[in-house]
Subunit: 319 residues, 2 copies
Amino acid sequence: MTKEELIQGIASGDSRTLSKAITLAESTLAEKRDLALEVIAHFGPQDDTYRIGITGTPGAGKSTFIEAIGIKLLQDPTRKIAVLSIDPSSGKTHGSILGDKTRMNKLSAHERAYIRPTSSGSQLGGLAKNTRLAMLLCEAAGYNTILIESVGVGQGETEVAQLTDLFTLVLNPGGGDELQGIKRGIMEMADIIVINKADGDAERQANLTAKEYSMALHLMPTSTPFSIGSNSGWIPKVITASAITNKGIDVFWEKAFDFEKTVSQNSWKETHRKEQMHYWARKSVQDLLLSKLDHYEKAIVKGLEEGKLPEEIAKEIVE
Amino acid sequence: MTKEELIQGIASGDSRTLSKAITLAESTLAEKRDLALEVIAHFGPQDDTYRIGITGTPGAGKSTFIEAIGIKLLQDPTRKIAVLSIDPSSGKTHGSILGDKTRMNKLSAHERAYIRPTSSGSQLGGLAKNTRLAMLLCEAAGYNTILIESVGVGQGETEVAQLTDLFTLVLNPGGGDELQGIKRGIMEMADIIVINKADGDAERQANLTAKEYSMALHLMPTSTPFSIGSNSGWIPKVITASAITNKGIDVFWEKAFDFEKTVSQNSWKETHRKEQMHYWARKSVQDLLLSKLDHYEKAIVKGLEEGKLPEEIAKEIVE
């Protein structure tokens, strides 16, 4: 497809063109990536979208929760939802936490929903970077609500905070966050904590867990990390939810839109997105610099053979 | 001091000149560092030295052990010993694990011993890199035995393996390596494991611990990590020691020289040092590349203001 065809297809909201553009963005071939970047640059930033991160260990019921909140939101005819994933394990197996799309039956069948796992490609630190490009393409295609799913165990969960406006943590009833295999520091990043599976026998336990987290959150600073110098002005909320009984789904959106209203009014959302852009620009420069390392391998070996010191070799090569 | 004065002082084994040269190497000023590098380059590599890494958590008795083995080795009049340290905590406090020199009373008073903690300066990843330069300067000054002390908890212990020929792990009697706060993977790096403080009531426990480690080691591969593609051909040994009763000090040197004989004869020592040089050359190039990042800050901000994508900015800046 030509650049013009891609732009036209995306502008008309065609999901097949969107998928093709995302595949280009994930490509390891520079010319393909560049084509995708040109398409993204054509559309420019979409400031009126809502980017929501949803982190939780496998087994916390993220997929059913995402399906439930997605279906709920789509009752609003102005909403178009894209679900993307950051999964550090997908690089190894070429699988993904979203690979099994059947887990989101209803959502994936909906005409105003788009579901796509991100491939890391073989790019250095490419996972969240690729998700970012996929997100920008989805926004260009008119998806105004982006849900980014990540497992809270690797590096992805800290980078998901660099992609999204709202950070949601989905937990099982019972057990602390460390017991649930969530990395230290993740809880402090959450704007909304969802104690999931609050149904049947587990409901009482879920309520108890929610109470514990509420108390723990009151001991923490209210600023969102990774937004150095700014403060979202939002006090984190803990809710219970169940996709089966549809409990907490309304409450989630109520809190999520409260959050959006707060951070739009105090202009934190705008500031935060600017800081995120700065993060990704620095990261892009850093990754490009480090990608040079292998190109220098021959010069390094030659310098060593000539008996030069590592520091001399580095200076000669880089300067 | 001029370059010539530094070279002359070091060639004559003057420890005050050596200290000055190491301070230059640790400097954050490029011209000072460059002067130290020129001095190091003047002397070239000293292939006949023996570089010994000694890792263990604070409290394992590394200092008393080092003093004991140092004093013992200095009975050989051809030996000159330099003790250097890699301590990740020293950057914060400007202190060091070796700062309290009184812990090595006898050794520091000996005319053929030189003791010096390494300062990280403010250099990116500068700690082990600075220790490496200090080591090369000590070798140039005629110190043929280098003991490099590190706490096995941070990043230092993996880099100490990139500096030394022999990797020694000093442990307390009782408790596994993880119980003792040693990072996973360190045990597998050890060529000699010393169960220290094997005196009085603890002797029985030390023997038991030694037996357990011996058994555990038999389940592990015999190659030293970080020497990808080569194999030292050495089977790791576990010994017990006590600086107080002088137990195990002879045995340590017996094993240590067995090791050196083995890896000299099968030329692993030479190969390993070449691989280490390659590691430091790559690291130097990498650090120098990353040090550019801050220089690009203005260009990054300008690109963002112009509404460019992070990937575009990176490409424009780096290429």
